[in-house]
């Protein structure tokens, strides 16, 4: 037995030595980030998830990007001009090259955009149409594609994008879009090298060899479900600003494993799960990031009880948002103060929309009970039972459980029945209007309050609660026709005020992410909209 044990020990030691300093070794400054999800698509035309956005942005620049503080700055664009009618945007490009030596030209943008708009499986192509950038001709082409027509890039000649020469890109819009430049940070508007992509066909962007880089890093390894390795791109036009040599993503679904790897020093940045927050919240490495997702209670306005405004006000005043974010979620989430999250959009004064529009509603049990009594009287009831629809994953699950106890405590006579569903079912039930109260969320498509506010317009397909207000619709119309950015901004603030006073929704919280970051790593920039994490400015001591 002893012999066997000693043989096993020797084997273990031998194996543990194998490969030390072997082919996996990287030179220079390396930052390793643990991620729960792998990249789903490296093709900017198809990517829809945050992780894909992050890695695509690390290797390919768009026209515009966000600085550390979230402000919009030029990326591949050297400069741009907007015509007086705001319908023609002309971008001139910097001198930049793809990693195969080709110059990055305006044609790469024209090709990429036409490629995206004709492909039905480009899920975010709607951002080209009137739900986003309003590029001239986009809606017509999208309608044909979604009607089942098979089109190619050559059929997209009517799309309002044109390379005037190698360095000049002209974009024509169907209507004025004040946030057009900020949309250019979204990967779906990034360039694609036509010759390279066409040569590879359906294998384009499926492996490191089948991708070109014109960004801060180059993709060298992509082992699906395990590891992504990037190295600094020396031919990047802004290579002087990139301080680290290697950026590595390790993919692990198990947060406790990535935290163990962080403790062991092999990972520099990891997210924390809610059960680990208490253990680490006082550690020096603890940090929180703010995400753009806003969770809110949506009321079915066609429901016989919830059409009563006093009832909706009672529910809204009974929610203790502060207790929820500070004592239940504890991950840096913010209280939901309106129908636009913090850090989403900056107005003409340079202030955040939320800061200017103010905070709506906070816990007031007395007011809540007064409104509840009034509602019960108007409805001819003595007590009330409502069903809360929510999904079976955090943070929705813990938040919904908290909301149930909080509402029942502050509104005696109210019973909240819980209806937990998988996310897909939750959305399906909302779509067909089979809900009373639902805890739901929305993530921004672009850095402007309208990405949220238009949801509540009469007839909007995401207006699941069927809220309708002529005053609100009018205010949004006023904003879209406003002569100046200042007037537009003011109209949007007023529109949100009308919405919040009508309470078709109760804003609950804006998602935060608790994380651990090594003391010697700085500059992992996080943003509430667009690309969630940007690594260009990462530094390691």
């Amino acid at each position: 037995m002893k012999k066997i044990l000693s043989i096993l020990c020797c084997m273990a030691m031998a194996i543990s030595l194998v490969g030390c300093g072997g082919n996996g070794a990287t030179t220079g400054k390396t930052v390793t980030v643990a991620k729960e999800n792998d990249v789903i698509s490296m093709d900017s035309t198809y990517a829809t998830d945050g992780m894909s956005f992050e890695v695509i942005h690390a290797i390919i620049d768009g026209l515009m990007t966000q600085d550390s503080d979230g402000s919009l700055i030029n990326a591949l664009a050297a400069d741009y001009t907007v015509s007086d009618d705001e319908l023609t945007w002309t971008f001139t490009l910097k001198d930049a090259v793809w990693s195969n030596g080709d110059a990055v030209t305006a044609h790469d943008f024209e090709y990429a955009w036409k490629r995206t708009v004709v492909r039905p499986e480009a899920e975010y192509a709607y951002l080209y149409g009137s739900d986003g950038a309003c590029i001239a001709g986009a809606d017509e082409i999208l309608d044909r594609v979604w009607d089942g027509e098979t089109l190619t890039e050559a059929d997209a000649t009517d799309l309002g994008v044109k390379a005037l020469d190698d360095k000049t890109l002209e974009i024509k819009l169907a209507q004025s879009v004040p946030f057009f430049a900020s949309l250019m940070t979204f990967p779906i508007f990034y360039p694609v090298n036509q010759a390279f992509a066409e040569e590879l066909g359906d294998q384009y962007a499926l492996s490191p060899d089948n991708l070109l880089s014109c960004g801060a890093f180059k993709l060298t390894k992509w082992e699906q479900g395990n590891r992504i390795e990037l190295v600094k791109n020396d031919t990047y036009y802004d290579a002087d600003k990139v301080e680290i040599d290697n950026l590595i993503f390790v993919i692990t679904k198990e947060v406790s494993s990535s935290v163990a790897a962080f403790e062991g020093g092999t990972v520099d940045f990891t997210k924390l799960s809610s059960d680990l927050i208490d253990k680490y919240k006082d550690a020096d490495e603890f940090t929180t990031v703010l995400e753009g997702y806003l969770w809110y209670l949506q009321y079915n306005m066609e429901n016989q009880y919830l059409s009563n405004k006093n009832l909706r006000l009672a529910l809204t005043y009974a929610v203790d948002k502060v207790d929820l974010v500070e004592n239940v979620l504890k991950d840096g989430s913010l209280t939901g103060d309106g129908f636009t999250p913090s850090g989403l959009a900056t107005g003409p004064t340079g202030k955040d929309f939320r800061e200017e529009a103010g905070e709506y509603y906070s816990l007031d049990a007395t007011k809540a009970q007064e409104y509840f009594a009034a509602a019960l009287q108007e409805l001819g009831l003595t007590s009330l039972k409502l069903t809360l629809l929510y999904e079976n994953a955090d943070p929705a699950k813990s938040a919904a459980e908290y909301l149930q106890s909080c509402l029942q405590k502050n509104l005696p006579g109210l019973t909240i029945e819980m209806d937990m569903q998988p996310k897909a079912n939750r959305i399906e039930r909302q779509k067909v209007g089979e809900f009373e109260v639902v805890l739901t969320r929305w993530g921004p498509d672009y850095a402007d309050p309208t990405t949220y506010l238009t949801l509540m317009q009469t007839g909007n397909s995401y207006n699941y609660g069927k809220f309708s207000s002529a005053a609100y619709d009018g205010k949004l119309a006023e904003a879209s026709k406003a002569a100046t950015v200042e007037a537009r901004w003011a109209a949007l603030i007023e529109a949100e005020k009308i919405l919040m006073e009508e309470v078709p929704i109760t804003s609950v919280f804006q998602v935060g992410g608790a994380s651990l970051i090594s003391g010697d790593v700085t500059g992992i920039d996080t943003h509430a909209v667009g690309v969630p994490y940007i690594y260009k400015n990462v530094k390691k001591n």
Binding site: E123, L206, G225, N226, S257, N425
Partner: protein, 314 residues
């Protein structure tokens, strides 16, 4: 091999092929009945969804889809992934993972069997002593403690406290990265094999032919090595088949803990995002393994013992 054996094997092969077709059909149907689709993004409009279905042929009637899938499958085309890596060939996605899962599974079975057999024999030879009791306790623990608990324990001990092995799987160091998961997985095998070996050994040692060998004056080592050991192993080998398939297909939980890019995780992720083609391909692979294993066992029984070939005229 005589004619009737060939005929028997032929019949078995045919049944296996039919079984696999039925399995794919049932899987196909079950996937279609699953709520949701691979394209669940809330922001997709109905028209856009329909256009995407058309692009991937998901708008076709069930039987057309099934027929196309079977047709492509026979040419080695398992379709593309929708939600794991958009548009990647499923074979490109599954291929690298097969090696990893098979490697770890087979290593765990070999390690577990060797230790298990030694432990079982040792316990049998020292029946009703302290060593036997300890071995039994170990076996009970091995069977009842889930591999992920052991995995986490090993991870803490040899990954964090004494950092000998990597915490997260590193494909550049597959050997080092596999040590802890292999040990964690082999525990169940050790326990099962040891228990089985012990009881077999005890019953073999009590049999008449061992008594005869002893009477003939053979020394104990020869009796155990030449007579008892071999006869103990035959039943042990029969339980190894299912264990082997089970471990080769990847332990989802251990893969999660050690972040091993294996088959188990791929299947579960495929199910969560409704990635039909990935789920089909991985489940099909599992089915093939089981069917082949059953086929081998059936045929080997048939060869060893002709009485198993039932049916007249064989």
């Amino acid at each position: 091999m005589n004619k009737s054996t060939m005929k028997y094997i032929g019949k078995r092969l045919l049944i296996s092929a039919i079984t696999l077709v039925i399995i794919v059909a049932v899987l196909f149907l079950m996937l279609k009945l699953m709520p949701g689709t691979p394209f669940n993004d809330e922001k997709l409009t109905e028209a856009q969804k329909l256009a995407i279905y058309a692009k991937y042929g998901l708008d076709q009637p069930f039987f057309v889809q099934f027929f196309n899938y079977m047709k492509n499958m026979l040419t080695g085309d398992f379709g593309v992934s929708f939600g794991i890596v958009r548009n990647m060939q499923v074979s490109d996605l599954v291929g690298p993972r097969i090696l990893i899962s098979f490697g770890i599974g087979i290593a765990a079975v070999i390690l577990g069997t060797v230790i298990g057999v030694l432990l079982g024999i040792y316990a049998a030879l020292h029946k009703n002593t302290l060593a036997d009791t300890l071995a039994t306790i170990f076996s009970v623990l091995g069977v009842s403690v889930p591999s992920f608990v052991l995995g986490l324990l090993l991870l803490l001990l040899l990954g964090v406290t004494i950092p000998v092995f990597p915490i997260l799987y590193e494909s550049s160091h597959p050997l080092r990265s596999s040590v802890l998961p292999v040990i964690a997985l082999s525990f169940g095998v050790i326990a099962n094999v040891a228990r089985f070996t012990r009881s077999e050994m005890i019953s073999v040692l009590a049999s008449d032919y061992i008594a005869l060998a002893e009477a003939k004056g053979l020394d104990r080592t020869t009796i155990i090595r030449k007579h008892a050991f071999r006869n103990t192993l035959i039943p042990v080998i029969t339980i190894l088949g299912p264990i082997l398939v089970n471990l080769m297909t990847g332990s989802m939980v251990l893969e999660q803990i050690f972040s091993i890019p294996g088959l188990g995780r791929l299947l579960v992720e495929g199910i969560t995002v409704n990635d039909y083609n990935v789920v089909l391909a991985v489940s099909f692979l599992y089915s093939v393994l089981y069917v082949v294993m059953m086929l081998i066992i059936d045929i080997s029984y048939g060869i060893i013992d002709p009485r198993i070939r039932l049916g007249k005229g064989d």
